[in-house]
Symmetry: C2
Subunit: 450 residues, 2 copies
């Protein structure tokens, strides 16, 4: 039996799947951050086609040929059967993973960076801005803008800029400009630097700088790497491929796992399957978001309207949130340190079609080392949360004898996260307690929608 | 047209190709380092099957099923058509590359690490030792030994141990023990540390420590990641796959390029094609070794008997050499800093079936940045030498209008080499002059074979 189920470039899906077409209830409207009236994404920040996709209820949206051409650099990606992990766990479960680490930036992020750069280019935009924390999103946007010959300006949270120099180098190699945030490039940044010249920065602050930059500069737009509906839409390329790959071996998963920060990688992998469940088929399909116990948005947050950014510039949406003031503990899975979650994923979780589990950092690293020593690949600390979940279920199957088919989205490699592995092997990895009091205070500051 | 030419796991070659079967003249014998009499590899250091392969003249050698099973983790690897690079160069040439960066350690090195670990395991060896410089080979052996449940002891050149901490972390993730060399674990290391406690180490010294360790410890063998005939043999999996891939599109290369340090990656890619030339077909096939101008073994060295290691413990072989005392300048392509070259590749070069070109560091980085910004992937500084050569030829074809088919082995990614990219972008990359006087002195110390 083959370890890898492959698709040819011809077999790559030509359309993204929009789950908004199949949701039993529509999403609550996006609201203006000041008037609290229903609104679109600000047109001076976002391309009109992305704005259209954000609110579309068409089931299928065509992928432009120019985007498909770039996807073919690394897509379709392989679906792996994790035979060596199964053997080590002595489980009757069948474990599959969709491997997104083969993209040039090393994760699923370019699946949306490419179309975002493309649509902006088509509409005459010459320059894109964004923020990045650990750098997965920033490096993917740098890659995408270079291929479409756009300028790229990245505000990187200062503490990451200093601690993760090589993700910054990656952005440079693809021609992007990267500055530590807070920077003196924006009024927001200048104000923060005046108060605290040594400010380590935060994702919320970097978002505000990138938004301000796009707002005041000509021919510039802002981009976001997760949370928004159009981002989840673009990520469905992974789930659509996986579904075709399962068809080739006449199989279908019983359970799907993925790590959740903003929610885009997991939504992309799961929605094409979850669509079947929403239509009444595959009622027993278990769809499990895997989040850090230190930032447990889905398992401990509220399902309420909240701001996505600290400055309150962006539209507000109803989602699971720990409060936009909440600054999560410094776990190594930097990509999962977000106070909210994608509105679509939040609603489907709230309405009972998906569920979530939270995991502690050392358990997650135990799992990903086990993966590295059997399957071979070194994964990102974010992805490790899904590995923990799937190993737990595989071990449960060993007890019950169930021959379940388990799938997880293997969202990226950990080549730029080896300092975290070192900390694990030195026995210095910290399991942060859930910050009950901090979240309680943060949740008091949700916007007061009547 | 597809960007990638893929093979199924079923189509993966089941045998390695041994070019010794087709060489017009046999290799000069390997000699004992003291008696200068013909000898084998020391049986207390090497598995008997690897020793058999070293001297075999059988054309095909079966790949064990257990090795194929592990190869399938990442093999067959894709053959890419570099359409975006071609367009940027406005060349009529067709550029193809075989992409080995998809392996878990990120290079071609596991192609031989896996069988070396396998044969030693089969013969009851429980522990393997080796040296590593930049860490590509060390991390590949760590990966291989973990999958066959062997212990692994790696002597890492101290300066690299300190400058490249994340390659060391990678070896730890796969369960290997790594010590900086010189170490106090061996008599050789102790002697060096007594003379100079701050010694930065060298590859030759690390080899001597790894050899001594294997010699004095029970159930231990030594392994080498390049140069030897059996290493080149295992690497032919890449060239054999590439040949099948070209057959699928009814094409054949006019020229093949690869970077050369010890010579194993390029030999593996080129020999299955070069075999045709040796048999009298494809007489015009151009086979080009790409080496650094700072360590120009093939273009400026002598074709003589020399030691492979500094201490003179290993058998001596006839090869192109700059002298075993020569310590090359600290170019970023650490994997190309070797004074000698594989005996088979050396003889085929000497006898006129292959040729070599040498390149300066900044030219090589110009080329690899151009590659990153068109094809997307970030490559190792070693691999960059082949990219430089292929771009030069493609630009020449633009002048002449020739629609040549060019192939290069894309031997690995540069995710652990981004400090070198930083140096390039800071304009601080140094082009070392060829150290004429140093080499002249070094060449005076070749062993005096009558």
């Amino acid at each position: 039996m083959d370890r890898k189920i492959l698709l040819t470039e011809d077999e790559m899906p030509k359309r993204w799947y929009n789950i908004q077409a199949d949701m039993p209830e529509p999403l609550d409207p996006m609201l203006h951050p000041e008037t609290y009236k229903p609104t679109q994404l600000p047109p001076f920040l976002f391309s009109s086609e992305l704005n259209r996709q954000e609110f579309s209820t068409d089931r299928w949206i065509d992928i432009p040929e120019e985007v498909l051409e770039i996807y073919r650099i690394w897509r379709p990606t392989p679906l792996y059967r994790a035979t060596r992990l199964e053997a080590a766990l002595k489980t009757p479960a069948k474990i599959y993973y969709k491997w997104e680490g083969v993209s040039p930036p090393g994760s699923h992020k370019p699946n949306t960076a490419i179309p975002q750069a493309y649509y902006n280019m088509k509409e005459g935009i010459e320059r894109l801005t964004t923020e990045t924390g650990a750098g997965q999103w920033g490096s993917s946007l740098a890659f995408a803008t270079k291929l479409f010959d756009l300028e790229c300006m990245i505000y990187m949270v200062r503490v990451s800029y200093e601690q993760k120099p090589y993700r910054k180098s990656l952005m440079h190699a693809w021609g992007a400009e990267v500055v530590p945030s807070p920077s003196n490039r924006t009024k927001t940044g200048q104000a923060f630097l005046e108060k605290d010249p040594d400010s380590p920065g935060s994702l919320g602050l970097a978002i505000s700088e990138a938004v301000e930059d796009a707002a005041v500069n000509d021919n510039s737009h802002y981009t976001l790497g997760s949370v928004l509906n159009h981002v989840l839409l673009h990520q469905t390329i992974t789930g659509l491929e996986t579904k075709k790959q399962f068809e080739k071996i006449d199989a279908y998963p019983d359970a799907i796992y993925g790590c959740v920060g903003g929610g885009s990688n997991f939504s992309g992998a799961a929605f094409p399957f979850l669509g079947d469940k929403l239509k009444g088929d595959r009622k027993d399909l278990d769809v499990v978001s895997c989040e850090p116990a230190a930032c447990p948005t889905l398992t401990k947050g509220l399902y309420e309207y909240d701001f996505g950014d600290v400055a309150g510039l962006a539209p507000i949406a109803r989602m699971y949130t720990l409060g936009h003031d909440f600054i999560p503990p410094k776990i190594h899975a930097g990509g999962l340190r977000y106070h909210g979650d994608a509105p679509i994923l939040s609603k489907l979780t709230h309405d009972g079609y998906m569920r979530a589990e939270a995991y502690h950092q050392t358990d997650v690293f135990d799992a990903v080392i086990r993966f590295a020593q059997t399957e071979g690949f070194i994964l990102a600390p974010e992805t490790a949360h899904a590995v923990k979940a799937v190993i737990d279920e595989a071990l449960r199957c060993r007890e019950t004898g169930e021959e379940k088919t388990l799938l997880f989205l293997n969202s990226g490699h950990g080549h730029f996260d080896l300092a975290a592995y070192d900390t694990y092997f030195e026995g210095k990895l910290v399991d942060y307690e859930y910050p009950t009091e901090l979240v309680k205070r943060s949740l008091e500051n949700l916007p007061k929608i009547k």
